[in-house]
């Protein structure tokens, strides 16, 4: 009678699941375009290029991201900053910055390579395009706006989660070596446009960071 016992056990499983789905929140499927599932903090989504709070770009055109990229999907060209109106605080700035999203494997090595936390990843994941040219994101789309919200390739995007777009800087700053919360002795987030992010537990405060830098100098 083992077979009948197993049969009844199976029926109990399906009835319990059915009860949980109907009367409790056992339903796993989300109605995607209507509701968005909460993504993990360190979700590897689309890249953005960040700005400092004063509006200058963080990218210094060093091409380390392009060098680190295992898929060779990043193309960067740096250029000397114009002295009267500098684009970035450093000597040079990223003049051309293209990412081929058809090649990108979303490994995040570019984020780790970046010395200034200029390139970070976001929670944006809706990157479908209707032709291959559109899949190459240029600096226009990658660079965040003055207020820190990421640019979108298409003005009208019915599928975009606009609440999430406001968080352009993204939690993926966490993958930058400077921002890893659990990393002892490493300093807090670098400031970014549109972001007020206090130092977290284990991070030294922004003030300490500058002190440290001055002390080293």
């Amino acid at each position: 009678m083992g077979m009948i016992g197993e049969f009844i056990k199976g029926l109990r499983v399906t009835s319990r699941i059915g009860y949980e789905t109907v009367f409790k929140d056992g339903q796993l499927t989300t109605e995607y375009p209507k509701e968005f599932r909460e993504k993990p903090q360190r979700f590897h989504g689309r890249h953005v290029l960040n700005r400092y709070p004063d509006g200058t770009e963080k990218c210094i055109g060093c091409e380390l991201c392009a060098g680190a990229c295992p898929a060779h999907c990043i193309y960067v060209r740096g250029k000397d900053n114009p002295p009267d109106a500098p684009v970035s605080p450093g000597e040079r700035f990223g003049f051309v910055y293209d990412i081929n999203m058809l090649r990108c494997i979303f490994c995040g090595l570019c984020v780790e390579a970046c010395p200034t936390e200029a390139i970070t990843m976001t929670h944006l994941f809706e990157m479908s395009v209707t032709n291959r040219d559109d899949a190459i994101y240029t600096k226009n789309e990658l660079l965040v706006n003055e207020d820190g919200t990421p640019n979108h390739m298409f003005d009208e995007d019915p599928l975009a989660d606009f609440e999430e777009l406001k968080d352009g800087d993204g939690w993926m700053r966490a993958t930058a070596p400077g921002g890893r919360a659990a990393y002892e002795g490493v300093i807090a987030w670098t400031p970014a446009a549109g972001k007020e992010r206090p130092a977290e537990k284990g991070q030294t405060a922004e003030q300490d960071r500058t002190d440290e830098a001055e002390g080293e100098a």
């Binding site: 399906t14 059915g18 789905t21």
Partner: protein
């Protein structure tokens, strides 16, 4: 017999046709919803409120789709098979009683109208015959498609039907012994009342006198064989998408496929209605004749009871489908020939002896 009689019959046929069509529309949707719930999913929820019109949308789509005819088909049988599948499905339901008789005066004559397509005195045999014809449709569809997967499905249908029809028929014989008739109406009538009528103990008045209690073994065997007969999971080897693509309907598309689909769900409803009629007391139930007007207690309530019981059995069908994986072919044959048929035979002998002794007395007395 005058024009009124003809009209009554026509109305009955139309009502049963409409009932089956509407039932299938709802049934497909309900099944998808129930199975989805049991798998943590949502199920259809776009067409109409709660997705209730999903089947209608699917049906319309199939209706307007191109009906592709492969080159190697036996054309005559190929287009005849879906019709052959559908007609017995409708015909089976004609003998199932939905409620008690009532009398009306039409055209100056008092007429008794039964809520049943027709009351055949060999109703049960007729039902078994119709379900067998339904298998022919599958076999013919598989053969006439001129393709290997449908052929495999057709061959499987043959073997499966032979195995399980034997068990099904054997399981029904004790029921016929017990109720003393092959007419479904008489079988339902024999299940009226409560167990108190049978044993004379007033305590048993709460237990209805349904066949499921004395004939439990028959019920189990009949239910299992019924699931196999309607080619439903876990006995859907005839269709088995993962093994033989779509089985017998691989080469069918558009409306012809829709007819097969319709027939399958009507058969499922028929099988549930039969389980209700044979084992769950049909339309019997508390009628509150003293408190309610006759048209409710004699008309509405029995039909409601019948439909409720049928839906309950259908739910078990869906529940089993959501639970069990498909049987392997040798398991199917083992279950049929080594378990169900011997069990049905043993039960038949036992029931025959007990019923015989009850009727004719012990041999030594």
């Amino acid at each position: 017999m005058d024009l009124w009689d003809v009209g009554i019959v026509l109305i009955k046929v139309l009502v049963i046709f409409a009932l089956l069509m509407v039932t299938v529309l709802l049934l497909v949707w309900i099944e998808r919803k129930v199975v989805a719930d049991m798998q943590n999913r949502i199920g259809p929820n776009r067409a109409g409120p709660w997705g209730i019109l999903q089947t209608l949308a699917d049906g319309l789509k199939l209706f307007f789709k191109e009906q592709i005819t492969p080159r190697k088909v036996e054309f005559g049988l190929y287009i005849f098979a879906p019709i052959l599948a559908l007609v017995p499905a409708f015909l089976t339901f004609m003998v199932v009683p939905l409620g008690p008789d009532f009398t009306v005066t039409l055209g100056g004559v008092e007429r008794t109208i039964s809520l049943q397509g027709t009351d055949l005195n060999i109703g049960l045999l007729y039902v078994l015959a119709m379900s067998s014809i339904g298998v022919y449709a599958i076999v013919l569809a598989g053969w006439s498609s001129g393709s290997k997967y449908p052929l495999l499905g057709g061959v499987r249908a043959t073997a499966q039907a032979i195995s399980y029809e034997a068990a099904m028929g054997l399981a029904l014989v004790p029921v016929v012994f017990y109720n003393g008739s092959l007419s479904l109406k008489a079988i339902v009538a024999a299940q009226a009342g409560s167990m108190a009528d049978l044993f004379g103990w007033p305590v048993l008045a709460v237990i209805p006198r349904w066949n499921i209690i004395p004939m439990f073994v028959s019920f189990v065997i009949f239910f299992i064989a019924g699931v196999a007969e309607t080619n439903r999971a876990p006995f859907d080897l005839v269709e088995a998408e993962q093994e033989i693509v779509g089985g017998f309907h691989t080469e069918y598309s558009g409306l012809r496929f829709a007819l097969f689909f319709l027939a399958e769900y009507i058969n499922m409803f028929n099988m549930s209605a039969l389980v209700t009629t044979l084992f769950l007391g049909g339309w019997n139930g508390p009628q509150f004749a003293a408190y309610l007007p006759a048209w409710i207690s004699q008309g509405l309530l029995p039909i409601t009871y019948f439909l409720l019981k049928t839906v309950a059995v259908l739910f078990v069908f869906m529940w089993v489908r959501a639970t069990l994986p498909r049987l392997r072919y040798d398991q199917l044959m083992t279950l049929g020939w080594k378990r169900l048929i011997p069990a049905a035979l043993a039960w038949l002998v036992l029931a025959a002896v007990v019923i015989g002794f009850r009727q004719f007395g012990m041999p030594w007395s």
